[in-house]
Structures are given as structure tokens and as C-alpha cells.
Symmetry: C2
Subunit: 139 residues, 2 copies
């Protein structure tokens, strides 16, 4: 099934006018196959055998973010986590982080249309919402 993701990945990259390089295909295909958002370190370890330069990985990830093919999530452990932009996850959405195993999952909705009042003169841009708790395995 990973070859399916490779085909999808290649189409996504090509459709954004970027050069279709081997690293981009492999990394995006991997992210498409991952259910949860994962760290740079975790991506590296998925490629343990095939060589993958860590700087290239950082640069490819940023390229994928800049081109809207994946998104990255900040966290209180100060490590970025990356997740493919499939279907439900294109628009703004909230995230859940397990305080025990550190797993991060994208929640489908951002329940944010409630008015939160900013101080006078402040301009709203986006909202970042992370729910913390225990996941199914850790609860």
C-alpha cells in the first residue's frame, strides 16, 4: 500500500509545480501513510535503513508545509510534529496531545466560533488549540 501513497505523493508534489525529487516523494508518501502527527526524529527512524540526510528532511518538510501539502504542529515539548493535509485536515483544526505517551492526533473540528474578546486595538489572525489528556491506550 505504500506504493499507492508514493503515487499520490508524486501527484501532489507535481501539482504544486515543485521538482519531483526522490526525498520529497519518500517523505510525503510516509506522512500520507501515518495516522498521527510525528516528529522529525520519528520520521528519520522510519527510514532507518534507507539513508536520509537530516538537513534534507528538515528542508523537505518545510517545503511541504510552505506548499500546503502537510502542516506542522507545535507542542509543549518544543518539538514540531508533521502531518499530511488529507481531507478533513486542510482547514483549521484543533489537536490532542497525550500527556503520557506524547501522541498527537488531529481533531476534526475547531470549536472556535465563540467570541473571545481581545484587548482594544488587537487584530485577530488565527487560533491554536491543543487539548491535553490521556489517549485510548494511556487512559
Amino acid at each position: 500500500m505504500l506504493s499507492n501513497f508514493r503515487v499520490t505523493a508524486e501527484e501532489m508534489i507535481r501539482s504544486h509545480g515543485g521538482r519531483v525529487t526522490d526525498s520529497r516523494k519518500r517523505i510525503l508518501a510516509l506522512l500520507l501513510s501515518e495516522k498521527n502527527a510525528i516528529t522529525h526524529r520519528e520520521i528519520e527512524s522510519r527510514f532507518s535503513n534507507d539513508q536520509l540526510d537530516r538537513v534534507t528532511l528538515y528542508r523537505v518538510l518545510q517545503w511541504l508545509v510552505d506548499n500546503g501539502l502537510i502542516h506542522k504542529i507545535t507542542s509543549d515539548d518544543h518539538v514540531w510534529r508533521y502531518h499530511a493535509n488529507q481531507d478533513a485536515y486542510r482547514h483549521q483544526h484543533a489537536h490532542f496531545k497525550c500527556t503520557k505517551c506524547a501522541k498527537v492526533v488531529c481533531l476534526e473540528d475547531m470549536p472556535s466560533d465563540r467570541k473571545l474578546s481581545l484587548p482594544a486595538g488587537y487584530r485577530f489572525q488565527t487560533i491554536e488549540l491543543t487539548v491535553k489528556g490521556l489517549c485510548e491506550h494511556c487512559a
Copy 2:
């Protein structure tokens, strides 16, 4: 007025049963005098003349957090910001971060009546909410 903060700081530390050390007094007094949440680096530079070891600063900040005298806020620049727990900021609250000047302010309320549905089996603990936008000076 900073001497006022020093007295308050000393009382707060003593009431928590901790040893009243010079570093704790100075650092907490500074945080009490600061309107916004600031970084370790910013705290250091406020003490530019008086010597203040950076490791001690980290350790004092963590002690103050652990004893509920201050709280710390994570951010997408992956740097902690610290703020005293005065009045309105004892309970859970949301934060605002300016995307231009990186200023972080505590908002007074956490609009928490949002029903965000977690996947089955997940257990809720806390919510972290950061509004991003432009502050009064940068708007």
C-alpha cells in the same frame, strides 16, 4: 515600586515553605513587575548588571512554577515565557501572541464552554489556547 514587589515576592515564597533566597526574591519580584509574559533570555537581560547565573534562573523559574507562584507558556517559537500568578491569572486562561513582535499577553478568560468531542476512550485533562494576531502596536 520595585521594593514593593520584593516584599510581596518574599511573602509569597515564605508562604510556600521554600527557602527565601536572594535569587528567588529578585526573580519573582521582577516577574511581578512585568505586565506580559517574558522569556528566560528577557529576564536575564533585565538583570544585565547584577549577576544572575542562567542555570540558577532556569531552576528558580521551575521552582516558582512548581509552587504555583508563576506559570509558563509554550509558544510556536519553542521558547518558554513566564508570568506571575496574580489575581486574574491563577485559573486557566488563554493567551495572545503577536505574530510580528512576539509579545505574549495573558487573556483573562478561557472560553471553555466549547464542546470539543474527543475520540472514544480519550480522557480530557486541560486545554491550551493561543490566539495569534497583531498587538496594538503592530496592528
